[in-house]
Symmetry: C2
Subunit: 285 residues, 2 copies
């Protein structure tokens, strides 16, 4: 069985490494616009070959789209056009609405499976890939009923085999929830990073005074702009609303602080403390 990974970065590379371990005889082909990434992916043993897109598709049972979401939108119709009958194309994008719309408009929609693994790090590229990234993490599949049973079975089997937990929802639900539990925390980290860098022209001051709490809160500001700009763009209605809600809470808290309203300050934080129950659940996963 031949699997092509389009975009051999953190996610595509980690998926390939995990699946390889379960299926040692599976052959992996890498497709990447960056020749260097292709070389690194070969050198790391993520893929057995690096080929042009058309050659890769022609011999694939499974094509995995692991590029930034704007590139997924551009490539999906072409990949479906050239996909052998009985083969499957799977995307790992962080947005689902627009990608599923593009798929729905294609006659070969049934050969497509829309998936999103809830995993990542702030690092990118084949060098950042590691086979444990997806183990024990959650995976969302959207519009399952629109995928051919065989395509769905292949995707579900591979994700389960590498230890992922599967969830199902509509692309609309997915994009709404993700705006709050993922996209917003990235926006908040990017803005926090800029605020501190803007103020502390002398980076040494940050070195000297920042604690691990700061590092943890701002960590996502290291994330790849090329990956995130199209996510924010494709999910802009939801992200914009989440940001508006967040800014509203920040303005409330600022007013409480300006008013020296310690009672409401305590109340604000005690309500936020409820997140501990949620985080303990996530960290136990």
């Amino acid at each position: 069985m031949v699997v092509s990974i389009i975009g051999i970065g953190l996610l595509g590379g980690s998926f390939a490494l995990a699946v390889r371990e379960k299926y040692p005889k599976m052959r992996f082909i890498g497709v990447d616009t960056s020749p260097v990434n292709g070389q690194l992916a070969l050198a790391k043993g993520i893929v057995d070959d690096v080929l042009p897109l058309s050659e890769a598709i022609a011999q694939s049972t499974l094509v995995v789209l692991a590029t930034p979401v704007n590139v997924i939108i551009d490539m999906l119709p072409t990949v479906l056009d050239h996909l052998p009958s009985g083969a499957t194309v799977l995307d790992l994008g962080s947005t689902k609405g627009l990608i599923c719309e593009v798929a729905d408009a294609h006659p070969k929609r049934a050969q497509f499976v829309a998936a999103h693994p809830m995993a990542g790090t702030e690092n990118s590229g084949p060098g950042a890939a590691f086979k444990e990234l997806l183990v024990g993490k959650n995976l969302i599949i959207c519009d399952r009923e629109k995928s051919h049973p065989d395509s769905l079975t292949l995707a579900e089997s591979l994700f389960r085999d590498i230890g992922m937990k599967l969830f199902y929802m509509s692309p609309q639900e997915h994009d709404l929830h993700l705006a709050y539990v993922s996209h917003l925390s990235h926006v908040s980290a990017f803005a926090l990073g800029l605020t501190v860098l803007e103020k502390e022209k002398d980076e040494q001051a940050i070195f000297d005074m920042a604690s691990t709490g700061f590092s943890s809160t701002v960590r996502l500001a290291k994330s790849s702009p090329a990956m995130w700009a199209p996510i924010f763009d494709q999910n802009r209605q939801n992200v914009s609303q989440a940001l508006a809600d967040y800014i509203e809470f920040l303005q409330q808290f600022k007013q409480i602080i300006d008013d020296q309203d310690v009672k409401n300050s305590l109340d604000f934080m005690q309500r936020a403390n409820v997140i501990r129950r949620v985080l303990d659940g996530i960290e136990k996963r």
Copy 2:
């Protein structure tokens, strides 16, 4: 030598555990408004005795104020009033401006050392204390020239002995920098936690869809309101300005997203990416 720890929580407890290891013969007395914390601190071996404040001060060479900063303000004059001659009182509060003002107004100012260890976790209480918390972390001492050389030497020796790196600045510089590199990340995490909890009434949805990135960004929302409300209140001018700057960047980014201005979206995130250099420095510590 007898050391009294006023407020036997995460910070006071961790300081005592670390110093005990270097000075096994040092005797530690705990003072805490919560009898339970006193019992736990004894049971954990953080202190040898739990006594009322006045008895503890009377026999101490060093009194460490490790309570929330509002309580430090309230207690500092009383502690100085009853402090034996030649003894030292040291505070570990996260704000320095108001605390140093209160100290300056006292005739025994020279027996006081104002310090802030750049370390903590989102947990609190004696149970959360551990002797490695302060190792390798930075410590800021304010208004060193106002402390008696012997008091300064005692405080500096203990902090160095447990592996901390010492820095010196004015209370005003301290409070300004901390608003950006510490207090702001706590506000942003509390507000992020509330935003998500508000939207996701069904906590299961957060469990299912949040990744480790979300956990990391919102982790500080687990922090103790009783500790943070007085910090935000005492440093409100700086925290309010930092929040205003942060909200401004968030509004800029929201506008960029609403305008589908992908070029400036990339630029915004690339500028924030510079924080990687800073974080790598912090994490190497």
